[in-house]
Each structure stands twice: as structure tokens, then as C-alpha cells.
Symmetry: D4
Subunit: 164 residues, 8 copies
């Protein structure tokens, strides 16, 4: 098995079905990922430890998914200069608007790359992590291009279904 | 000079005019406060250190003010069981709605007491800190009651001005 | 039985399942709480009476939960200098955004400590009340620290489940 | 001078320029109005007293204007069965969205008639109070109809200006 | 049977279960009401006719409920100087925020009294109509007071249930 | 002078500078337009008359701009089957969000074509009216294509400025 | 079969049930429409090709429906001067508010005519397309008028149902 | 001069002062960037050409800034598998909420990494681009770490200023 290149953090076990959209994409691309439940609020030391030694463990990209006042991605970004991708989850009554603003509205100096709220965002986090790795990895680049082609073909097929 | 009972944190020097609304109130009540610029994102270790030893230094309440994706209060709360009061500041184009949701929508387990956005919220943070201290300090309790009376009298005076 | 230290008010019997998240936490910490249905709009005199004599009855903290244009916490705060914690409930079509703004946006002078919308907020209200009481009560302070440790362990266990 | 039929309450002297849009309209219609600064949070007893004896003093309608978490109209409505008109003011960073939701989203049982945010709302509060009084006062009814005609003529004149 | 004093308009038959909250209240108070389906957009002439002759038919108050870009109340108000009460309904994907803003944000000159979104708002529209009629009708005034007392007693009973 | 093909309505003379963005575009395309101040709320009969005879006067498209609870476009659409373009204006404290929702969220059956809030929307209303007329008018179609080319060239020039 | 005058694009097969509200209306009016699944993001070249040759194929109006950050209508409008109607769909956790703003807030120069969110908007897109075609097609104009009459009669019937 | 590794696109020359926050950061890190004005709506072909040959020209990351219904980043992402960073700009009356949702809410399959609204977001776009390049470029990685240290020192200095 390859050494993990992507670290996937989530604030609670309940976020697993959402966040596994990211894992699925990465697995499809042959990129090893490490998943952890670690909460910015309930286990700040664990988050800090996982992030502080991520680079030395060979991690290239970190994905962090959380709901409510989603601080996880920002807290991760505060402890590393690795690219951090945030996934705002819709687990509160405000349907993820809170998590989105808490993830994307980072002040100047510490960037977080926010994806869309929920499942679509988690999937895109996996794809975006792959695109970062692809900058220096030609094989992943080719797989991304193939993925796009497959996606386009699916749309093409859907189009045939409705115009048939 | 008394030992500080309240620790006031803000994410940037620019937040000082806002956050000094809190300091002013505390000074008025004879409660010593310690002010620090410390950013959840730019100086996470400083925040952590200030908070981890706050209790042992005699701090009873922490006030944290920040704008944008305001994580400061939540990050502080993650490192202490002291009561943490959050003040969302309106320094971003979204006029503080982002800071409000990032401050108040804390997930179950780690509470932050959110005040209103901006100046009014900073002032109320000072008053709320005083009310917490007043639970075990009769002198502060009396001052709070006097403060209310003075405020009511001001309204009474305003009322006379307009009905005169 | 101990004399109640926390007064929990809610606007309607329907709010009970939400607000009992607060009661549960307090019970766990051995803090006696008194629950009342009392509406800022439908029974203003009852609210006023409950609040005006709260301090003399030995109450240290008041928790108030309400939905829609949630005035309860603000009305309570107008009648006391005890710390007041507001819980905005998501019982209206706007999913609690109305209750949140009506609870948190208090004008300068009369603070209300707002928690998150709904269940998470009610639970945190209980914890925050405990943290206020803990300022002068070492036993509660220790229980709060233990609670944090237990919570962290649960996350640690969840982490083991997904990485197993 | 006539006995006042309308009671106009505002939370602060700063609200006077806004709220006088209501007074101006009522004066124009020959309806006597009584203005008071009285805050739901800072002088709750004053609000209560003004409202509890309003009916016996001959008041028919109450107008209440406030900003931030605008509880004034709701608190007034809790103490009277007279028609209460609320004017949400845009004095907070959220531009009156907070005041609007805190005014209009009253739970079932205690109605408040909300007008638009700010100046337009204050003016309409005066007109709506007049329309309530007009139900049993033919003279006011005629004046309202004349007011409408004058307004239509002004639009007609504006139309001529731009098509000239 | 009494001549109807209140005209209740709704944009579609689907709004009936919501709007009948208003009818129920009025019936309880012995105030006769006339219900019509009439759409500001689909049957503008019908709305205009119903409103233009409302006053001469003895109508004192008009209630208008609509969802989406709810223009009904505003269009009604444009054709009459009778008091118009608007009920924004939550029939669109935006959960009534659209209907609320389209109802309440009337420009200066033509007031609409907006109630809360949905069922609570419809009920309150009935109560507010009653309070307008009560200005000149002592019997209705007494019934309103009794209604308040009954409501308070229900809360009192709920309070007993939970503290028992 | 040509007979007007486009009718431009606005709720108030204050809207003229905004709405003239539409007039300017139409003039540039040689499409005659007729401007009127006419308010859905203050002069409903004038709106109705202008719209009911628009088709017979040779009007092909109607543009309606209004702020606050912008009912104008919807009211116009209720009286005609001609294409109606709505321009939500940002004249209220809510910065046009109210006008946008009141314009665009039309219920099924009566369409209004909403443009963006404010100046950009008014300009696009002119362009969209031209594109409707262009469906059957080849000369306008060619002018629209030239307009696009000119716009693209301006961007090209801007690009040269910054890369120079 | 007639040559299609309207091109209906949607971002995914899942949007079909929504978007067929438009097709149904057009069929009812005897206007031939061509449906395609084509995504602004997943098949940009397909969208471009369909749009670039639309005019030469005899298309007069394009309808584009999409959810999330709905770019489809704007991307279509960038490639044609034909009138483009956008339908924001509520397929994301934000209930279509994202799709609405992404569709309607087009910058000056490239108009998109936005309809309401979801089913009502799709139906109105069909009607609005018909009203554009009706500018130069008397038969469609008559059908639109008949449609309005039928709709009014349905409301009339609903009114009879509730007043019976 | 180095070959540009980052392509910075903006929808209009007016966006230059905002977007140059990104350029400044990249220059500071010795990363060559290429700036272009290119609009998704007004010059779609130019955007397409710039993006389609970006990879072959040696571009590793694309930054796209736009206001209103900001489609630029999404349109760019549709044409490349390179990582695309979106900067929502606050140039419309909605203060960038429209641009934020149009940038971040990308459907599953085509990721865009959204930064905060406005200036802070543009600066962070530069930093995030640098962090992507740093994955395979040790020198940039070291500069990023130094940048963080400098930033922390500035905060430390600010802290000294206020506690002095």
C-alpha cells in the first residue's frame, strides 16, 4: 500500500457518509488517503498533532469537513502551510450556510479552499486534492482527464435518453 | 493594581476601537482586564498558550472578538472550561453575518456565548463578563444594578427631551 | 434536594424536548434547575415575577429558549442583572434564523448570551451555565474538565472505529 | 388640543428622526399623538406602565419603533389588546434584517403589525394608524382618501416631468 | 347572520388550510368574515372589484394571504384606504422569505400590516383584525381580553404539567 | 420618429437615473421607447390603463423597474400577455434583496423576466428587450451582434492595458 | 412536425421532471421545443456547439435550467444574442438561493431573464418563451390570451368551492 | 524572467486593484504570474483559449476573480483539470453574496476552490496558489513558512503595542 498523500479530517463520525465521497474519488485515482475523526473544538490537541506532523509524514493536501460553525479547516490551516480544502456540511438547522461562511470567509493571510456545501463539496474536495497532486504527477493528471471524459460521456448518454 | 479577572483577545490591532467598548465597561466596574492581540489563524500557539494558563493566572472569563470567519472564540473555548464570550465584528463585506454565524453556531459540547455584531456586542461582552463575576462578588452585583438605574435614568431624560 | 441554581424558561410546552438538553447536562453536573413554561408574549407578568424574585430565591443563572421572534431571553434580561443565556429554537418556517437574530442582536446595555439554534444550543446552554457556576465552585469546575475528557475520548473512539 | 389617540414609542432618542415620519402624518390628519422614549430592555417598567394604562387614557393605537433585536413592539403587544404597529429600524450592521424578523415573526396569539424597515415603515405606521382610526371616524377616512389623491397627483406630475 | 366585517382573500385554494386559521379566530369572536380566492396575478380584475366595493359593502378590514412574490396584500392596499393585513405564506422553496419581503417592504404611502410567515401569521391576522374592530366595538374588546386570559391559563397549565 | 415599441415604467421619478440605462441602450439600437412614472401602489389605475392599451398602441415589450416590495412588474404582467421584464432596484435598506425576490419569485402562470438588481439590471433590461424585438427584426439582430463585438473589443483593450 | 423554435437545456437528467413543466406549456401552445442535457461545467463544448448553431437551426428562444452555482443560462447567453431564459433549480442544500443569484445577477452587457426557483419558474419559462414568440406570431398571442382566461376561470371555480 | 506558473484572470479592468493582492503575494514569493482581463460572458472565446492552452504553456494554477453572478472560475474549471481558485468580488449591491454562492456552490464533478469575498480572498488566492506550487517546490515551501513567521511577528508586535 502507498503512503497516504491526503489527510481527511472530519469533526464527527456522523460526517463519514458525506466525507467518504472524497475518499471514493481519491481511491479511484489511486491516491492513498488517511481518514481521521478529530474535532477543532472537542479534541484540539489531536487536530494540532495530526496537522503539525502531516508534512513530515508525507501528506501533501489536507481535506477538512465540518458542520455548524465549521472551524476545522481554518484551525488546520493555522497549523500548516500545506494546501487545506474545507468542506462545509449541512448538519445544522441553517442548512450549511453557517458552515459555508465559517469555512470560506477566512481573513487575509491564512487561506482555506472552500468547496460547496455537503455531498457535492466532499466529492469535489477529492477531485481538487487530485488536481493539486497532479501538478507534479503526470499519471494523476491523465486520470483526471479521463475522469472528465467519462463524465462528459455520461451526460451525452443522458442527453440521448431524453431526446430518444 | 488588581490581578486581571478578564482576558480580552482580539484577532487584530484594528479590532481595538471596537473591543475597547468591553474594556471601558470593565474598568468602570473596577474589574481588571488584560488585553491581547492574538489570532486563531496567524498565531494559534500564542492563543493556545494564553488560554491554557489563563485559569492558573486567575482569569475567570475570556472575551474574544474577531471578524470574517471568526474562529477565535471557538478556538479559545476548545482550550478551556472557563466561560468564553464571543464578539462577532463587522469587518468583512458581509457586515458581520459571517462572523456572527461562525461565533454563535458552535456544535454541542463546547459553548461560546455570542453577543451582537460590532460595538454593541463588545460593550455587552463587558457587561456580561461583569454579570458572571457578580455571581460570586456582591460588590460587582451592586454596581451592575446601579449601572442599570443610570441607564434607565438616561432614557427617562431622553423621554423628557422629546416630550418637552 | 439542593436549591435550584439555574432557572430554565421556555415559551411553550412544545419546546420541552429541546430545552431538556440543558436540564440533562445540569443534572449530570449535580446542579439543581427549575423549569418553567412562561411566555414573553402570552404571560409577560409570569415571566416578570419569575425573574424579579429569581436572585432572592438563590438563582445564579437564567436560561431562556424560544422560537419565532424570540423575545424571551431579552425580556428576562431586562428584569435582572443575573447572567441570561438565550437559546434560539427552530420552530418557525425560517428555521431559527428569526429566533437567532431576535436573541443575539441585543442593543448595547442589556446583554444576552446567545447559543446556537436548536438542540446543540440547548445543550451548550446547560454547559455554559455550569461554567458560570464553576467560576466560584471548584467541584463543578472539575466536573466540567472531566466532561471534556470524556467527550475527547468519545471522539478518539470514533476515530478508532473509522481507521480500524 | 385633542386627547392623544396614538401612542408612539421608540427605544432611543436616536430613533426620533425616523419615528417622526409617523408623527408628521398623524399631525397632517389632525390625529393627536403622544411620543415617548421607552426601551423594552432598559426601561421595561416604563414601557409596561405606559402600555397598561394606554387604553384608559384614550389611546386607540400604539406604534413602536426599535432597531437591533427589536423587542419593543412585541413587548408592548404582550401588555395590551390594542392594535400594535411595529417599525423595524436599520440601526445595526445587519441593516434592519434583525429588527424586521424580531418584529414581524410574532408567534400565534399575540399579533404585531409590521411595517417596512426604516423611514418608509415609520411613515406607513402613521398612515396605518390613521386607517385604523378611520374605521370608526368618517372625517379621517375622507382625509385618507384625499391623501391618496394628492399622492397620485404627485406621481402624475412626475410622469409629466419625464415625458415632457 | 351578520354582514361580513372582514374580507379574507387568498391567492389559491391551496392556501385555504393556512388562511382558515384567521377565519377560525374571527368566528370565535363572532365577527362575520367573507372568504375569496382571488389572485393578484391571475385574476387582477376580480381582486380590484372585490376591493373597490368592499367599503360600501360594510367591510372594515381586509386580510390577504399569498406565497412566492406575494403581491396580493400590496395590490389590495393600492385600491383601498381600509386597513389591509398581509399574511406571507411559505409555499415556495425559499420557505416564505420571499413572501415576507414582498408583503412587508411596502414603500412609503401605501401601508400593509404584515404578520409572521405561515400558520402563526394567519391566526394573528384574525386577532389583529379583531383588535381593529375592537377600537370601536366594546364587545369585541372584552372578548379579546378574555382570549388573552384563556391563553395565559393554557400556558399556566403547561407550566404545571412540566413542573409536576 | 418611430412609434414606441417598448414601454418603460418606473415607480418613482427617483428611479429615472437607474432606468435610463435601459432607455440609453434602446436609443442606441434605434428602438423607440416610451417612459412613464406609474406606481403599482400609488397609481394602480394609471398602471392598469397604460398596460391594458399597450398592445393596441403597438408596444411589444414592457420594462418595469421598482424598489422595496417591487410589485410593479408583477402587476403589469397580470394585465397583459406581452413579455414583461422586471428590474429590481436597490432603494431600500435591504439593498434590493427585497425587490429581487418580489420581482423574480412570480408564481406559476404569470411570468416576469427578472434582471439583476440596480444599474446592471436596467441596462440588461434594455438589451433583453432588444433581443426579443430582434426575434422578428433582422436589423436589430445585427445591431445586437455588433454590440457584442464592441463589448468584446473593449475587454480586449482593457486586457492590453494591464498586460502592457 | 414543426421545426423547434425553443431550445431547452438542463444540466442533468435529474432536472427533467422540473424542466418538463416548460415543455408541457410549449406543447400546449403548439410550439415545438428541443430538449437537451448539456452541462456548462461537464460538457462546455456541447453547450457551446448547441448554442452557436441554434440561431441558424431556427431557434428563437433558449431556456436553461440548472441548480447549485447555476452557470448554464449565463454561459448560454455568452454565446448567443437570442433571448435566454434562466430557471434556477432547488437541488442544493441552500434550496435554490444559490442558483437564483447565479442566474439573475448577470453583469451589465449579457442579459439572462430569470424566472422563479423550481417548478413554478420552469412553467413560467415556457410561458415567457411563448410570449416572446407571440410578439411576431398572432396565433400564439391568441393562445396566450385564452390560457389566461382558462386560468382565471379555474380561480373563479376555486372561489366558488370555498364560498359554497 | 521566469515562465509564468500562475494565470490570473479577472472579468473587468475594475477588478485589478482587488486582484493585484494576489499578484503582489506571488511576486513576493518569486512566482511568475500572467494577468488577463477576460470575461466569461463578454469574451467567452478568449477565456476558453487562454484556459485550453494554459497547461501546455506551463501554467500550474489558475486564479479567477469576478463579481455579480461570478461564472468566471466555474467556466475556467470546465475547460481544464488544473486547480482553479475562485475569488468572489463585492462589486454588486448584494456585497458579494451573489458572487460567493456563484463561485463556491459548484456541482459535483468540477471543483473550484473558493476564497473569501474581496480583497482578503484575492490575497489568499495568491497564497493558496503558492501552497499548491509548494507541494513540489521546496523553495516556495520555505518561503511560505517564513511568510507565516513574519505574519506572526507582526501580530506579536501589535500585541506589544496595545499592552505597552
Amino acid at each position: 500500500m502507498h503512503k497516504p498523500q491526503v489527510l481527511i479530517l472530519m469533526g464527527s463520525e456522523n460526517d463519514l457518509p458525506m466525507m467518504d465521497e472524497a475518499t471514493k474519488v481519491l481511491t479511484e485515482f489511486g491516491i492513498a488517503a488517511e481518514r481521521h475523526v478529530a474535532s477543532a473544538h472537542r479534541t484540539p490537541e489531536k487536530v494540532r498533532d495530526l496537522v503539525l506532523n502531516a508534512e513530515s509524514r508525507g501528506i501533501s493536501v489536507i481535506i477538512a469537513g465540518a458542520g455548524f460553525a465549521a472551524h476545522l479547516a481554518g484551525v488546520v490551516a493555522a497549523h500548516t502551510t500545506l494546501p487545506v480544502i474545507g468542506v462545509p456540511l449541512d448538519s445544522s438547522p441553517l442548512k450549511g450556510l453557517d458552515a459555508l461562511l465559517a469555512t470560506v470567509q477566512m481573513p487575509g493571510g491564512i487561506p482555506v479552499a472552500s468547496m460547496a456545501i455537503g455531498k457535492a463539496g466532499a466529492k469535489n474536495a477529492g477531485l481538487f486534492a487530485a488536481s493539486i497532486i497532479a501538478v507534479a504527477d503526470k499519471a494523476v493528471r491523465e486520470k483526471l482527464k479521463q475522469y472528465r471524459k467519462d463524465m462528459a460521456e455520461k451526460i451525452e448518454q443522458q442527453d440521448k435518453n431524453i431526446s430518444a
